[in-house]
């Protein structure tokens, strides 16, 4: 008799399983969690803290806040940041001061760990939320963060 009992119990569990998937099938129009990506670029927004790419914000006078202290270069674990700097005469005080020439950022090597942004004392670099970073040419992944012709914002000291 347990032969028939086993068959009956087995079929009941199979029908319960089918009811779960059947329920999702009936609600498939509203319940689909697919996002149709290239069509919804306008409405797709990342969260504020999303780690997309490291950028250096410039204000309207083309000035940035990077003093060339090299704390981000030391904090980075794998050499993604290279700073080319020189000591020049500061026009205001007349003394020799460290100034940056180029702040090079290798996007291809970056692991998005965030240590450089935490280490920066003047908030010169920040996270941007762009996620479409693929290029056809690998040399485009080596980015220079400070724009040409920009200089340090007055009053920023480290």
């Amino acid at each position: 008799m347990s032969y028939f009992g086993d068959i009956y119990k087995g079929i009941k569990t199979l029908l319960t399983g089918m009811s779960v998937t059947g329920k999702y099938f009936l609600h498939s129009r509203k319940g689909a969690i697919t996002q149709q990506y290239p069509d919804n670029r306008d409405t797709l927004k990342m969260f504020d803290r999303f780690r997309g790419e490291v950028v250096m914000p410039h204000d309207e006078n083309n000035e940035h806040r990077c003093t060339g202290c090299q704390k981000c270069e030391i904090a980075c674990p794998n050499g993604t940041i290279e700073i080319i700097w020189d000591r020049q005469i500061d026009p205001e005080t007349g003394k020799k001061k460290k100034m940056i020439d180029q702040h090079i950022y290798h996007l291809g090597m970056c692991t998005m760990c965030g240590l450089c942004i935490e280490a920066c004392p003047t908030d010169a670099i920040l996270w941007a939320q762009n996620y479409e970073n693929s290029v056809y040419d690998r040399t485009k992944l080596t980015k220079v963060l400070n724009q040409p012709g920009s200089k340090l914002m007055p009053g920023v000291e480290d």
Partner: protein
Amino acid sequence: MNITLSITKTIYEFLAGYLSNDAANIGTMVTIALIYLAIFAVAGLYLVLLERKVAAWFQLRIGPNRVGFWGLLQTMADALKLVSKELTGTVKADKFLYNLAPYFVIVSSLMALAVFPFTKEFQAFDINIGVFFLIAISSIGVIGILLGGWASNNKFALIGAMRSGVQTISYELSVGLSLLTMILITGTLQLSEIVEIQKNGWLIVQGHIPAIIAFMIYMIAGTAETNRAPFDMVEAESELGAGFHTEYSGMKFAYFFLAEFINMFIIAAIATTVFFGGWLSPFGITESIPWLGVFWFMGKTLVLVFLIMWFRWTFPRLRVDQLLTLEWKYLLPLNLLNIVLMALIVWLNLTIQF
């Protein structure tokens, strides 16, 4: 508008006006074969698309919807891609058998498709041993699978083919016996006669309890015949790669793939004809318009195809020895008991007739 539905007669009479009788005969057969080949190809393609959309709806996503409106041209694109692929082969494979294997499965599916009554008189081959012919033809398909696995010279393919062979020949018994249960009510093997008898009520209603049991056994055995989940140990993707069609690519792979979907359609079509009234409408609503029978037939078949797909996307896979235990220890004894039960009911005139 008076369209005769008997296509064989129409084409024969058309050709007899131009050619001699023998040539008209051969001409009829060739034309019908070409028409069925076209139906086979188109139906196979759209069944694949249906499977992908249904699978997507079960899995909380949308299926293909970019190529053509609602994805309707998706399988055309896939077929074009498969045609343009290189036909690879292994070095030590047996070339003749390797190339021959896909044709067995295609030919057996096409021959089985020929005997179905799509509507009154729309039937290519109305033989008086219809059901027997169907069961015999479906046994030929397994030769293709075994040949494909052996001739690939690949251990994985061989294991897959052996498993499939064992599975198919075991479950053919259940398919045959459950169809036999319904033949006890009809008394004839001819498919068009079976549908005529169902004018008094569908066979699943006429033979109530044993017919329902026979239908359930038939559905389980039918999905096992076509190597679909939950019985798809053969092509268990997460275990051994791709089973017996690992070494096939391009058009030959497409043959195996399409043949699986057409086999599923055939199993559902047999169930519709024998259990659910074929092309008849329920309660004879549209009996005066015979050509609507095609839509009733396709509708009922597609509901059963959907049921088979539902099984695939819900249940886990059975292990090979559990598959065989299921057949020989559970389905076969139940089938035999069911036949005795049905025989009793027919003898005592307890069938429900309308």
